[in-house]
């Protein structure tokens, strides 16, 4: 006797699988990805809850599709970095390779634009970036290092935290050590064990380059005062670089503008930085939703495969969970982002 079809539909939805997966007499064979988890401060081993498991499987399934498409087209492989190099030097090198100046960074009108710009720059390098809503108490981001690399950001997280998570995970991808992370900017996280500490230092140095920070007027005043500053100048610096005040404070310490004693005194004032997530203003069109959730990189890859006849419109629409009618606007939006 079968369970009612409505119950099966609910079950499929709960697990994030197509109803047809429940036709199988055995669970589908699939290799689970090796991942690096970035979680919130104080969480050593994040619990694999349903939303996290669904996000992991979704990313792994799409990674498999992307891999097949790239291999069919004999496309390039993303190569992890092999040289032994300090995190801040790697950040400097990568920042140069991205060819995005601090002046440009400061022209971005808000944190969302910063996230979009960094994300697109990373996608142009052959790394796919997804955003999935996951419970806030758990995981901030994770990455899958196998070819082609995928980074998944927690869409429920504050946008500045996502900017930091993105660069933290990009560092994992560069190292070929991807996983699920708790990318906190708490002191504990910034002094965590390798490779988490390395990736945190990389992300901080990439987003707030040393020379630019030393040249910042607020940073210079904080350095000259040799006292614990108010939050206001840290917030101003954070706004200019689109990072949290925690990242600013740690960078001020790293570049030697504040002493260990002052750094510790200020840090102890703070709990971890968890500002309220912005509400409203989300995407309104199918193309915008695809850009937010799947990114220009994946959309562009799948659309190109459709043009070559490797995938059908049905395939692409079902991979991106979008009406087929929206595919032309998705294609245009992806092309615009990757070109611009």
């Amino acid at each position: 006797m079968h369970p009612p079809l409505t119950a099966l539909r609910e079950l499929a939805s709960l697990y994030g699988v197509p109803l047809s997966a429940l036709l199988l007499s055995h669970p589908p064979r699939k290799s689970l990805p090796t991942v690096d988890r970035r979680t919130y401060s104080g969480v050593d081993v994040p619990e694999t809850t349903m939303p996290l498991a669904k996000a992991l499987h979704r990313a792994a399934d799409l990674q498999e599709v992307a891999r097949a498409v790239i291999e069919h087209a004999d496309g390039p492989r993303f190569e992890a970095m092999v040289e032994d190099i300090e995190a801040d030097q790697l950040a400097t090198d990568q920042r140069r390779a991205f060819n995005i100046s601090v002046a440009q960074q400061r022209t971005w009108r808000d944190d969302n634009m910063a996230l979009r710009a960094w994300r697109t720059a990373i996608e142009r390098r052959g790394v796919f970036v997804l955003q999935v809503s996951m419970p806030k108490t758990e995981v901030r981001a994770f990455s899958l290092s196998e070819h082609p690399p995928f980074i998944v950001l927690n869409r429920s997280d504050h946008v500045r935290a996502r900017v930091f998570s993105l660069l933290h995970e990009f560092c994992h991808v560069l190292l070929g050590s991807a996983g699920i992370c708790l990318p906190s900017t708490s002191r504990r996280a910034m002094q965590a064990t390798e490779p988490e500490r390395y990736c945190n230092v990389f992300a901080g140095a990439f987003l707030v380059p040393s020379d630019a920070l030393r040249a910042d007027a607020d940073a210079q005043r904080i350095g000259a005062a040799a006292a614990v500053p108010d939050d206001a100048p840290l917030e101003r610096i954070g706004r200019r670089f689109h990072v949290s005040r925690g990242v600013v404070w740690f960078r001020l310490y790293q570049v030697g503008l504040v002493s260990q004693a002052i750094f510790t005194a200020k840090w102890d004032d703070w709990a971890d930085w968890f500002p309220a997530v912005e509400s409203g203003g989300g995407p309104t069109t199918s193309a915008d939703i695809v850009m937010r959730d799947y990114g220009a990189g994946l959309a562009s890859l799948l659309m190109a495969a459709k043009e070559r006849g490797v995938l059908t419109s049905t395939d692409v629409a079902q991979y991106l969970v979008v009406p087929q009618a929206a595919l032309p606007s998705v294609e245009a939006a992806a092309a615009q982002r990757l070109a611009g």
Partner: protein, 169 residues
């Protein structure tokens, strides 16, 4: 009656989601003959759509509405479930986990097998033909035509369908 002529059997078409999407440019006001043909096949009981295909057609465009408005051509998921289980176990690649809402493929093949079985004991045996634009070019993946071939079921695309009916537009 081209549909009766080819193999002595009635030709019955199981039409997949991708084909209905392919029909979007064929506006009914312009391509009257196309929609007359499809309407005629449906009236003759020679056009079937699995319920899961109907559920995937959600764009609100004409072909979707056309299918939604004709429940007599639908084949329910419950009636196809056991057969679809056999198909899915034999061709697990038809279950694509990267398509959370793309669930129809095993049901399309199952519908064709089921229709052949149902009619085999009657005076109107049929050849069930799957109409789909799906293809499998990627390594390690399969599409509806692969599943059809394994069961000896023909599959054609939209233009192959028109050709089988001896129609040009």
């Amino acid at each position: 009656m081209i549909g009766l002529a080819l193999a002595g059997n009635v030709l019955v078409y199981i039409v997949d989601t991708s084909t209905w999407w392919d029909l979007v440019p064929f506006r009914p006001s312009t391509f009257v003959g196309v929609w007359d043909l499809i309407e005629g096949l449906a009236s003759d009981g020679r056009l079937l759509v699995p319920e899961e295909v109907d559920r995937e057609l959600n764009s609100g465009r004409y072909p979707d509405k056309w299918v939604h408005d004709r429940p007599h051509i639908h084949r329910s998921t419950v009636s196809l479930w056991d057969r679809a289980c056999e198909v899915a176990d034999r061709y697990p690649q038809l279950v694509d986990l990267a398509k959370p809402k793309g669930t129809a493929d095993p049901f399309v093949v199952a519908c064709a097998i089921e229709e052949i079985d149902i009619r085999s004991g009657t005076i109107f045996p049929c050849e069930a033909i799957v109409v789909t634009s799906e293809v499998s070019h990627l390594p390690g993946r399969a599409a509806i035509p692969d599943g059809c071939a394994g069961y000896g079921i023909r599959s054609v695309d939209l233009y192959g369908w028109f050709a089988l009916e001896g129609r040009t537009f």
